[in-house]
């Protein structure tokens, strides 16, 4: 096979860029989609996850995942990974603390994020089994799955997160302001129309993320 054939030049606009394959790309192809596409082989249970968490994560995210470690005084602490109230965000009306249990629509997001970004100072150093166990542990302390859970590709893909219905598509613009030029009302005046609560967006919004 000549270089040109390998490059597939006859079929390409520019023939710039080297042809490769899935095996070459595999170490970087780490994304996990909501339907489980991208999950590796492997498994992990809650207890193992608790161990990994204790040695690798707790010193930032707190012993019970309630976070709050503040390396800089007057700044926020490292984020919590759990909360004391497991109610899905869309079901409450108080200042929302978005976190793993109350907010994520898909459990795969948790796997994907830990796989690419954590631990913070040494990312992409966990084994696939460790990641499964951490996900199991974190979902357990968030009261999403039972303590005796064992997660693998199939079971993780099957998890239904509590807040999975808590999202709609972008429905902005969600305000309507008249470009009044003179003698205008301002918010607080009787004559000022504050508008209404925005309607939810629908899946036809062209930028929307819709899982098929």
């Amino acid at each position: 096979q000549s270089d040109t054939e390998a490059m597939d030049c006859d079929d390409r606009p520019f023939c710039i860029g080297t042809v490769t394959d899935a095996a070459t790309i595999a170490p970087w192809n780490i994304d996990v989609l909501p339907d489980g596409t991208g999950l590796p082989e492997g498994q992990g249970d809650v207890a193992s996850g608790a161990e990994v968490y204790k040695t690798g994560c707790a010193y930032c995210h707190g012993e019970d995942g309630l976070g709050g470690i503040k390396p800089i005084e007057d700044h926020a602490g490292y984020p919590a990974l759990s909360s004391t109230d497991p109610t899905p965000l869309s079901a409450i009306d108080s200042w929302p603390t978005k976190n793993v249990g109350t907010y994520l629509p898909y459990a795969t997001t948790l796997f994907d994020y830990i796989r690419r970004s954590m631990p913070f100072v040494n990312s992409q150093s966990l084994s696939d089994d460790e990641i499964y166990s951490l996900v199991a542990y974190l979902l357990s302390i968030n009261k999403v799955i039972p303590e005796n859970s064992v997660l693998d590709k199939a079971s993780l893909s099957a998890i239904q997160m509590p807040n999975r219905d808590g999202f709609t598509c972008d429905s902005r613009p969600d305000t309507h302001n008249e470009p009044c030029m003179g003698d205008c009302a301002v918010p607080g005046d009787d004559g000022f129309d504050l508008g209404v609560a925005a309607k939810p967006g629908d899946d036809s919004q062209e930028d929307c993320m819709v899982v098929q």
Partner: protein
């Protein structure tokens, strides 16, 4: 210099009768050429830098725990025109700035394509280019206001915003080269090479129509803080989507719902706790940069009100300015040319008579959308919304000439 205007006219008046002195720099040779092969600002400009917003100005743990997942602000109140010089471009990182070696860096294009491709930087630089001027803004810009914190000046409140001329290759060029399977493709996932390995989902049509894989910023190669050697640019869309240190583009039929598309960077839609999954576009916004918070007017008389306006939905078509807290408005002048998805400078002459005045600006874009008051955003989205705060910014000019949040 900086933002503080000193009362120079009276001082100058007193000295007006003395013959002008000849300064030392008029009598002796200055620095030779190439003292700085890569030039730097005057030492007298050392106050014009990127900054953090001090915890003292943002109480309550507003600032993030670590300088590696954090930001720094552009001193917009000290800039003119619409270009942000590269050294003052805002930062927002999630694992600090990686020291990427350009000869080692690779960009992979794969997924629903006929051929998976790897590009070196040299290969990317050979492909046909586009150059265009666009702003970048973090969707969290101004989020503290929604939490009842106000900051001191434009940098504190709106400083996660910059603008440059970007050069690179259209993403569609890379996808066509890979033989993208257009009938199946619905999204393109973009991923970074820093240790956060940020992942975002780009809608396929936007990827093909709008996106640029850029490697130059105001003429020179990208700055490390802006993604050296290559980043994604999605004109008009939130900064986080514009993946820095871009290493991988995967054409898929499903979105990722990554952590930065769910836990963070997603917005509550209303009081019921529901949220938007994707809010990519930065809506029309403007801010007066002079007179603005932290600045001071030295005397009564003429001033030029100035500011910047921008929209992710194309061109700004007008900016109105009020000097009485929103009761009456005047259309400001827009510096030409007005470019799409780019900062636009506006100016308006004004005479200050030493009475207090609340100044604000209100942008309109080509869709007819008008920049709202924050109360309208709270009504539409509930009191807990955080991102995409494009509300009108009021400044109170006090009778002593000092300017604070209005």
């Amino acid at each position: 210099t900086g933002s503080a205007l000193v009362m120079t006219s009276m001082v100058a008046q007193a000295q007006a009768s003395d013959p002008l002195p000849i300064p030392q720099w008029t009598k002796t040779l200055g620095d030779p050429v190439l003292k700085n092969p890569y030039g730097l600002p005057s030492p007298f400009e050392k106050a014009i830098i990127r900054r953090e917003t001090l915890a003292a100005d943002m109480p309550g743990g507003y600032n993030f725990p670590t300088p590696h997942s954090y930001w720094s602000t552009t001193p917009l109140q000290d800039l003119r025109g619409t270009i942000t010089p590269n050294g003052l471009f805002y930062e927002r990182h999630h694992a600090g700035v990686p020291a990427v070696e350009p000869s080692e860096h690779r960009l992979v294009v794969h997924g629903l394509v006929k051929r998976e491709l790897i590009f070196t930087m040299d290969q990317l630089r050979r492909l046909p280019t586009v150059s265009s001027f666009h702003f970048l803004e973090c969707s969290g810009n101004g989020d503290m206001v929604t939490e009842g914190k106000f900051g001191k000046n434009v940098a504190d409140i709106h400083g996660l915003l910059s603008c440059a001329q970007w050069t690179g290759v259209k993403l569609s060029t890379l996808l066509e080269e890979a033989g993208v399977e257009k009938d199946k493709a619905r999204y393109v996932l973009a991923e970074g090479a820093d240790s956060a390995a940020m992942l975002r989902t780009i809608p396929f049509q936007r990827a093909m129509d709008e996106c640029i894989v850029v490697y130059a910023q105001n003429g020179e190669n990208l700055r490390p803080e802006q993604g050296y050697p290559v980043r994604l640019l999605v004109p008009g869309c939130e900064g986080n989507l514009n993946i820095k240190w871009l290493r991988r583009l995967e054409v898929t039929d499903n979105p990722a719902f990554s952590r930065e598309e769910t836990s963070k960077y997603s917005d509550l839609t209303g009081p019921d706790g529901m949220a938007h999954k994707s809010t990519l576009i930065m809506e029309a916004k403007s801010v007066i940069t002079f007179p603005s918070g932290g600045q001071e007017l030295p005397e009564a008389g003429y001033y030029q009100i100035r500011g910047i306006a921008w929209t992710g939905r194309g061109k700004i078509t007008g900016v109105d300015v009020s000097m009485d807290g929103g009761k009456n408005w005047e259309p400001a002048n827009l510096t030409q040319p007005v470019l799409s998805k780019c900062l636009t400078e506006f100016t308006l002459p004004w005479r200050w008579d030493k009475t207090s005045a609340v100044l604000m600006s209100r942008a309109t874009d080509e869709t007819g959308y008008v920049q709202p008051f924050i109360e309208q955003l709270f009504t539409a989205r509930g009191k807990y919304f955080l991102y995409h705060n494009n509300a009108i910014q009021p400044w109170l000019v006090q009778s002593d000439g000092s300017v604070v949040y209005g």
